[in-house]
Every structure is written in structure tokens, then in C-alpha cells.
Amino acid sequence: MRRPGPVRLSLVAMACIWPLAVRAADDDGAAERDAAALATFRGQVEPLLAQYCTKCHSGGEPKGELKLDLYLARAAVDQDREAWEKVAQKLHDREMPPEDQPQPDAAAREKMTAWIDAQLARFGGGQRDPGRVTIRRLNRNEYDNTIRDLVGVDFHPADDFPSDDVGYGFDNIGDVLSLPTILLEKYLAAAEQVAVRTLGTEQVNLVTGDTTGGRIIDGGARILTSEMEVRTKVRMFGSGDYMFRVRAYGEQAGDEPVKMAVYLDKQLVRRFDVSAVEAHPQLYEGWLQTRGGQHAYSIVFENDYYEPKKPEPNDRNLIVKEIELMGPYPPPFKRIIPREHTPEDRMQLAREIIGGVMARAFRRPVTPAEVDRVLSLVRMADREGENFNVAIGLGLQAILVSPHFLFRVELDPEPNNPDAIRTISDDELATRLGYFLWSSMPDDELFTLARLGKLRSGDQLERQARRMLADPKAQALVENFAGQWLQLRNLQTAAPDKGHYPDFDESLRRAMRKETELFFAAIMREDRSALDFIDGDFTFVNERLARHYGIADVKGEEFRKVQLDPQKRGGVLTHASVLTVTSNPTRTSPVKRGKWILENILGTPPPPPPPDVPELKEEAAGELTGSLRERMEQHRAKPACAVCHNRMDPLGFGLENYDGIGAWRTSEGPFEIDPSGELPGGQAFAGPQELKAILKARQDEFVRCLTEKMLTYGLGRGVEYSDRGAVQDIVKTVEQNDYKFSSLIIAIVHSDPFQKRRGKRSEP
């Protein structure tokens, strides 16, 4: 028996709690809680706010238009939740008070944010705020992959699209992805291309030579009066599927309709009942498969009937008005057009095809009215005399340019009510999964589960996530997530100087990227500990990269797994890819490397310097001298720089054994490399291995950082203050599961931000 999944349970529970919670303000318990909250506020919180905040945030012209004194008088969070949440976030992130103002200590900050959080938590029926994702346009990768999975052609039309802008480090952020005219132009062109490549638009009639048979009547039509045929020779352009078309009608007589057969090289292709009459000739279309070269193509009248003694009509004849043969058509068209049609069921088949494609393209069930609208385009093409493939192709183009395809739409019943939290539908969940793990649309299995409402039953969601991670399409997560988290994509534009790094060439550039992708993929596919990212003792090299790393006995282009000397290498920090993108063209940059670690490993980017830092003026005391490290240390002697650089630079110094393209070194010019350092707080290390040990010991920070990056990528929005509870839960789950990669993914897909959404708040 299937047990109900946890999410279902909470859904039921939610339905019960929700109305109670909303009414809670009226009952006695709530009144007591209100009184208690007010007491805490007056006793503990208000004095702190008065001490640190209201100096600027009050009066006639409050800073940032935040009138805290007004809120203090009410002491109620319910009416100004957004403002209060912002206050809590700014306090928490130490953005406020500004650095030149008196600072509350950690306990005071905690007191203020805890009170606000507690008040905020009382709303929304005790539900956590799942956030709201802005409608997301497919980005370039997603577009290409979706086309591939939708129609079966993999030809990367998005190569011609303009770049997708990056926000929060990723190029799949709904708020950031815009749709300028140039992109819509490209979408139109791409849709046409897709239609051509999948259905073909070949309009050229290959029947050009002499046609014989029958007797020519009005308008060049041929009448077949006894059992005979219209013949022609046709030159085919190559092997493949061709479409034949015969426009014909019958002079009907006897007890059966005219029978017409289409032959190629004396092989029967297809037989039709021609029930059309002179007033309405019909198109009889179908496919045939053949090879290139000369072929004999004929239309045969099969059931002659002539009984002059019987009353009229007593003479059955076939009239062939036009014969055409077109092609070859691209193989994938049969994915879209599953069978041949007859003149009678042509539009019925069109409806089935369009309805099916639309449901997959829009990633949801579609209404008959929606299908009708597309069908009207198909009919238009039909009226223009297009063959079936082309007519369907026009419908396909409209589908591919529709906002329902280009955007991932999640419709809310109350789009502008921030309190209206809802669990997204199974279809929407399937779509989120697809784009998270595959950068593409859901496959049939996901669609089917969603349509049956079973995606969340039992452990189905976990099973699907595991299945998806094991699928080759999960390579998208490697290329798009790892490519951006670790900034591998920036390798493409890195330009190490030939003079300084004569070893650098394109094959090394490719090998660098490949190494890190394979390493990430290994952690994903073997479900290893995420901590391996920091110090995994293996990697993947080919001959070129092995030479760069000084690893012996690796021959050839093939990448293979090798064990590493932990003294010298291991983990992404020591990958040539990462080391190169964090260097300048002619030298290493310990600052960039340090900043990279803070941002991408520890998740503690250097705090924004205080506003209005005086601009750096030219050095009065002449040039700095010595090794790079010595020069930097002279810089850092300045207190204004030291605050941040004390955090960044030592991390970078720990990687100085790797040059600007990641090769191992022990000296730079006349200077010995000194890879030792000391982090703020006094932790010292002698070199890269010890540095990594320190980072690994800070696994909490690393897992939190990785979670936030993955969640950002998975949701297509920045991680907000209100997500901190969800992040905490995910981190805890990952820790409890030995940091297994899959546990991170599974925890994310089960999290509230992934499962739910709320209405939009008013504009900031």
C-alpha cells in the first residue's frame, strides 16, 4: 500500500491550520501572546532601536524612507511586514547601522532580529515564506535543450542569441533575464528553423519529367477510365522520407468508391479510397521511403467499373489532377507526426498532434480553446495549399514563440497577495525539476507522474531526483551549475600571456575545463561527499594536463582518473581551471583567489566597504618594491585596506605555489614562493595542503555556501533573508547524510522555496 508522502500530509495539515491562524488574532490566546510580545518589545527591543536606529530613521525626512518611530508607536509587525523584514535583514547582514555609526554588539543584534523574526513567523499561518520566483524566460542553454527534448533535433539555435545577463552569479535568474526585440527576432527565426529541421519545408515538386498515362482532360488533369496508371520518372535527392501528394477525385459508380494506389518502383506504397467528387477534389498525401536516384512513380486506378446497361452513374473513373513528390524530409518528423492521415481525418490528426506538442511545450495540460487557436494557423497554411508537414510546422512555430513556451509560467490564483502561499502543482514541480537538473523540460515519465498527481506520493520525488541525476542529461547540471559556480565558463575568455606562460594553448584550456567538469560529475554520479570539492585526492587528466601538472605516465587525449599527491594537488582550489580564471594575464592574483574562496567556498564575501571610501590616490611615497607578496603586504599596511584584505589575501597566498595557469612552482623570478599565511583569528598554515585542511574544517560554512548557490540556481532567484530557515534545514540534512551530493539535491527539491510560492509583494 502506498503511504502518503510527507508533503501531502502537510498539505492536509495546512488546510486545517490556515483559517485558525488567520483568526487567531481574535481569540484570547492571541491576545495574551500579543501582550507578551509587546512587553518584550517595550522592555528589550525598543530601547535598542532607539539607541541605534531612530536617529536617522525618523522624523520628517527619514533615511531610506523608513520611519521607524511610526512603527515603534504601533509596535505591531502585522501592518508593515515588509519594512520589518528589511530591518531584520539589514541588522542580520550587518548592513545597518552604517559603519561610521555606533554598532550594537552581537547579542543586541540577535535580540532585535529574534523579536522581529518571531513576530513575522506568526503570520502566514505559521508557514515559512517560500518566496516568489519571477516568471522565467528560458535561457540559451535551456532553450537549446528544450528544443532537443521536444522535437528531437539537437542543433543549438541559441548559439545565435544574445548573451543572457548574469545575476547572483547565474544566468537563469527570472528577474534578470529580459526579452529585447533582438531576442524575439531570434526566437522567430529559430522557430522557423526548428520547423524546417523537424518537419521540412521542402516545397519543390520532384515530378518534373514526362508524365504519361490516361487521357488529358480540362486543365491538364488525367482521366483513367480502365484499370491503368499515370506514370512518371522521378529523381530523388538522397535516401530518406518523401511525401507524395495526389490531387484527385472520382467519377463514382457501383457499390464501392474509386480505389487508387500509389506505387514506387512497382511496390505498393499506399492505397486510397477516393470518395471525392469533381466539385471537391481532395489531396491524398502520404510518405514513402526510398534511396536517391531515378525511380518510377505511378498512380494506379484499381477498380474499374463500367456497366453500360445499368442506369447512370454506371462508369467509375479516377481523375488525377496533380501529382507531386517532395522531400527528402528530416527523420525526426515522425516524432511529431505519428501516422499518415486521410483527407477526411486530416484536421483530426492535426488536432491530436498540435494538442500533444502544446502540452509538452507548455509543460502543462492545454485547453481545447488553446489548441483551436493554433489549429486556425494550421488551417490557414492548409488553405494556402501547403502540405501537411508545412501546415503543422506553422502551428509549431506559433507554439515555439508563445510566451507559454518561452517563459516558465506558474500562475497563482492571487498573484498579488503575499499571504497567499500555495504548493505548486505537480506540473509546475515537474518543470522545476526538469530545469534544475537537466536545464530542460520534463520527460515523459515526469509528465506522466505529474498528470496522475503522483509526483509527490511516497518517496517518488526522491526517486525521480535520483533517476534524473543518473541520466546523461544531468550533464547540464555540470556544465551550467558547476560552470558558473566555479566560474569555469570564464576560462573561455581568459587570456594568459604567451610571453609569461608559453605553455598555455587551446588544448590546455580545453583540458582545464574538462578536468573540473569530470571532477564535479564524479562527485555527482558516484554520490560522493560534497567535501571532496575541497580536498578530493583524485582528479581526471589527459596527457596534456598531466604534463602541466607533472604527473607521469599519462598518454593520449583520453581523460582518466588519477590519484594525486596531496602535498601538491587535490580539490577544485588546485584545479588549473580555477587558478587560471582567478589570475591576471601576466601574473597570479592572490586577492582574486582569496575573494574567490570567500565567495564560492566559504560564502562569506568580503563585506561591502563603508560607503564613500576616499578614492585611491597615487602613491605619494614612490613605487612599491619586492616580490608580489611583499608589495601586497606593503599595501595592506594601510588600515583602510587591511579590514578586507586581511581576509582575502592570506587565502590567496596559500595558493601561490600555483602560477597564473595553475602549474606548480616554488619560486617566481628571484623570489622564493612563501605559501604560508595567517587568517584573521590567528589560524596559521604553511601551504596549500594546510590551507585546505582549515577550509575543510569549516565545513558548515562550505555546505551553507554550496546550498545557497545550488538553491539560487535551482530556483532562478537570489536567496533571501526569508530563506534562511530553509537553508538551515537543507544544511542540516546534508550533514546528517555524510555530505552526500544527492542529499543536497533531494533536500532542495523538498524544501519550501522549491515546493511552494506566494503572491507578489508591493513594489519596493
Binding site: D165, V166, T181, L394, P585, D612
Partner: protein
């Protein structure tokens, strides 16, 4: 030099002993007579060219003001068109400055450059700047040409990571903003730019059938989008607005093209893609810009030669270091020398463009005479990150409305946007104010 391909497209007006070539679209929508006079004149065109990381100012700013000035080292390559230039010193783009937002000068420099607006500091949730001057013009006169505006560049947008101190990469890669929240993406591949400009589709019956289909598809999706928009939250609606605007713009273009079925095939080889050689890439983009202006396919353009904060290596001119890295020269003479070489390299490409425009005659004038090409950077010195006394050039005479061949020094803190107001006036696109403008820029004529 009149290119043969223009002839078929142009209506040749004969009168007063002079043949004045007028692009076809102009015949449909009369161009305004900019400097008065009874005779129809070729339209004024306007482009903004951006180069990143500031300049080595001592070798940029001429010593003397007025018409008797020498071009310093960096601008020396412009000697041949010196009489068609204004060097404008002293202009400031105040909103490049933090105003309480902390670091991020590169991101702000680019996105405030043509907007004169404060850039909302965000990783992405609520991107906001202002409408840029080119888009103001596109809105006003863009309907007279096939493309309301053209956006070109050489660098793709960022591929990953954070571009500048808490600012979304949108800000350091986009100069042109159609609305205060919607940047105009730029085309960086000359092959694609060429195809976009010059492929009008298929001629004849098949062509008109395809246009008809395209129109039907657009009608279809327009209805889809309207219907969808009505069911969305406010922020999502903004995204659908972008979509709807784009559909309407394409419908307009198809409508206009329907009246003008024969497509111009320029006497210019179709580029094969992005050249490996950077100089060649820049020149190709300039070539295309010149062709677009010449054929009156657009009158408004932006060209971001490199994204702001670019750390490109210029090894091909013996400057292998990263541009951004170098620009923080800390007073080091060697680095400053390298910076000015990079600056001069870019001006050399500009000279190629301006000379090309100067070589294309339009009646008694040249295309350069009828243009306003602004060239500059949103940072003064890359080390100081200052946003005042910016390096700004204005080339071309705006249809005889600008007296060139001078170096003008404006009072400190004169808004760069004042120049934009004056340029818009000359493009029949006057507005009362833009961004932080405080009035028109004096002394241009």
C-alpha cells in the same frame, strides 16, 4: 564614394544641379529639415561608442582650448578628421559615483553613462537605472527606419560569477536601456549583425507568403501574451511587457518591410563570424555601423567596444597585461605607458570608422557631417575611478549644426547629460530633461 547597392534603393532627387540621394524609407516619412532650408536633407544619425577603464588623461586632454589645439598622443590617430571633432573636457557623470552605495564604479560607469541615473545596487532582484539617451531617440524617431536602434559590442555578457561589487552583470555589460529596467542586449557577432541588418527575407510570392505567416504567428502570440499578462503578478507583468513591446516592434517592422520588398544587398562581403583578431572584430562592427547609417536602416546606435572592467590582454600591441589590472596603475609609469597604448589602439579603430564616414558622400556633405558620434568612457582615470572630467569626443557635424575642430573645456561638474539633450535636439528628438541634466550644453555651434 557611392556604393552601387544604394542606387536601386534610393530615390534620386534632382534639383539645383545636385543629386541628393535619399534612402527609400525617408521618402515614406519625411525627414525633418534640421538646419532649415527648403531642400530635403539627409537625416542626422547618432552613435555612442564606449571604451572601458578610463583613459590616461594627461595624454588625452589637449593642452590648449579653442580651435588651435594639438591632438595629444592618444588621439593623434584622428589627425585626418581633426576638423570634424570636438574634444569636450570637464563633463561629469555624477551618477557613476557611489552616493552611498559603496564600490562598484565599473558597473555604475557603464550603466549610468547614457542614462545619467543612479544605478540600483542589486545582484538582480530589482534591476533599475534609467532610460538611455539612444533609446529616448529611438522612441522618438526610431519608427522612421527599419531598426529603431542598433546595439553592437565586441564582448559577450559575463558568463558567470559576480561582475562588480554587488551589482548584477547586467550593469557592466549593457549601455543601452529601453526602460529603466530593461537593457537592450547587444549583438557581438558581425555575421549575425550583418544577417539581421541585410536579410529582408525572400523576394516574390514565397517571400510575401512567409511574411504573412510570420505576421500571423505574431498576431497569435500577441494575443497569448496579452491574455497571460492579465493573469500575472505585477513583476511578472513587467516581463510580459518586454515581450509585448518586442512583438509590436516586429509587427511594425514587417508592416514597413511589406511596403519595401526589395532588400538591399550591400556591396560588402558577409562576415564569417567573430574574427580572432580583436582589431579586425572592432573594424567589422564599425563597418556594419557605417553600412547601417549609410542605408538609413537606423539612425541611432551604441557600440560597446569592450565591457566595463574588461581585463582583456592586448598582447598584439605588446601589452600582454590585463586592461583592468593595468588601469589600477598606482602611479607606476610603465603601467601608464601601457594604458595609453591601449587607449591609442582604440582611438586608431575610431579613426578608421570616422574616416570611413567621411568618405561617404551624401549630397554636398559626408555621412560624417550628418552624424554625431560620441566616443568616451564613464571613468576618467582608471586608477582614481573618478567620474568627472571624463574623456569625451564628439565627431561629426550633426547636419551642420555643430562647429567642429575645437577643444572646449566646460565648467567642472557639467552634466554629461547636457550634451545628450543637445544631441537629441539635433535628431528631432528633443526632451525637456534626461537623468541629471541641468540644461543644454553650450557652445556646440
Amino acid at each position: 564614394m557611392t556604393k552601387s547597392w544604394q542606387i536601386s534603393r534610393r530615390t534620386v532627387l534632382r534639383g539645383m544641379g545636385t543629386a541628393i540621394a535619399l534612402p527609400l524609407l525617408d521618402a515614406m516619412t519625411p525627414a525633418p529639415a534640421i538646419a532649415g532650408g527648403a531642400q530635403k536633407l539627409a537625416p542626422v544619425r547618432m552613435a555612442f561608442v564606449y571604451v572601458p577603464n578610463g583613459k590616461h588623461m594627461p595624454d588625452w586632454t589637449p593642452a590648449a582650448v579653442g580651435s588651435e589645439f594639438e591632438l595629444p598622443y592618444i588621439t593623434e590617430p584622428l589627425a585626418k578628421v581633426k576638423d570634424r571633432l570636438l574634444v569636450l573636457s570637464g563633463l561629469a557623470q555624477d551618477h557613476g559615483r557611489p552616493h552611498g552605495d559603496g564600490p562598484g564604479d565599473h558597473a555604475r560607469a557603464l550603466s549610468s553613462f547614457l542614462t545619467g541615473a543612479q544605478v540600483k545596487k542589486t545582484h538582480g532582484a530589482d534591476i533599475k537605472v534609467g532610460v538611455s539617451v539612444d533609446q529616448v531617440a529611438a522612441r522618438k524617431v526610431g519608427q522612421r527606419t527599419k531598426f529603431p536602434s542598433l546595439e553592437l559590442g565586441c564582448d559577450r555578457g559575463a558568463q558567470a560569477g559576480n561582475c562588480d561589487s554587488g551589482y548584477s552583470c547586467s550593469y557592466s555589460t549593457n549601455i543601452s536601456w529601453r526602460t529603466d529596467t530593461t537593457p537592450q542586449a547587444k549583438e557581438v557577432d558581425p555575421k549575425l549583425a550583418f544577417e539581421r541588418l541585410f536579410s529582408n527575407g525572400v523576394a516574390g510570392e514565397l517571400g510575401s507568403k512567409r511574411e504573412k505567416y510570420k505576421k500571423s504567428v505574431l498576431d497569435f502570440v500577441l494575443e497569448d501574451a496579452r491574455d497571460l499578462k492579465a493573469r500575472l503578478g505585477v513583476k511578472d507583468q513587467r516581463k510580459l511587457d518586454e515581450y509585448l513591446n518586442s512583438v509590436r516592434e516586429l509587427e511594425r517592422r514587417i508592416g514597413a518591410a511589406g511596403d519595401d520588398p526589395d532588400s538591399p544587398a550591400p556591396d560588402f562581403p558577409k562576415p564569417e563570424g567573430i574574427p580572432k583578431d580583436y582589431a579586425e572584430h572592432i573594424r567589422l562592427m564599425y563597418d556594419l555601423l557605417a553600412l547601417a547609417f549609410q542605408g538609413d536602416l537606423t539612425r541611432v546606435a551604441t557600440f560597446v567596444v569592450a565591457n566595463e572592467g574588461s581585463n582583456r590582454s592586448y598582447a598584439f600591441i605588446e601589452v600582454p597585461d590585463g586592461h583592468h589590472d593595468l588601469s589600477h596603475h598606482g602611479g607606476n609609469k610603465d603601467k601608464q605607458t601601457k594604458i595609453r597604448e591601449i587607449n591609442r589602439f582604440h582611438v586608431t579603430q575610431l579613426a578608421y570608422f570616422l574616416e570611413k564616414l567621411q568618405g561617404i558622400s551624401e549630397g554636398e556633405r559626408t555621412l560624417l557631417d550628418n552624424s554625431m558620434i560620441m566616443y568616451g568612457s564613464g571613468l576618467g582615470d582608471g586608477n582614481a575611478h573618478n567620474h568627472d572630467d571624463l574623456p569625451i569626443l564628439l565627431a561629426g557635424r550633426g547636419g551642420d549644426t555643430i562647429r567642429t575642430g575645437r577643444h572646449i573645456r566646460y565648467e567642472k561638474e557639467t552634466p554629461l547629460n547636457n550634451l545628450f539633450l543637445s544631441m537629441l535636439d539635433r535628431l528631432d528628438s528633443s526632451v525637456e530633461s534626461l537623468g541629471d541634466s541641468s540644461g543644454r550644453l553650450e557652445s556646440l555651434l
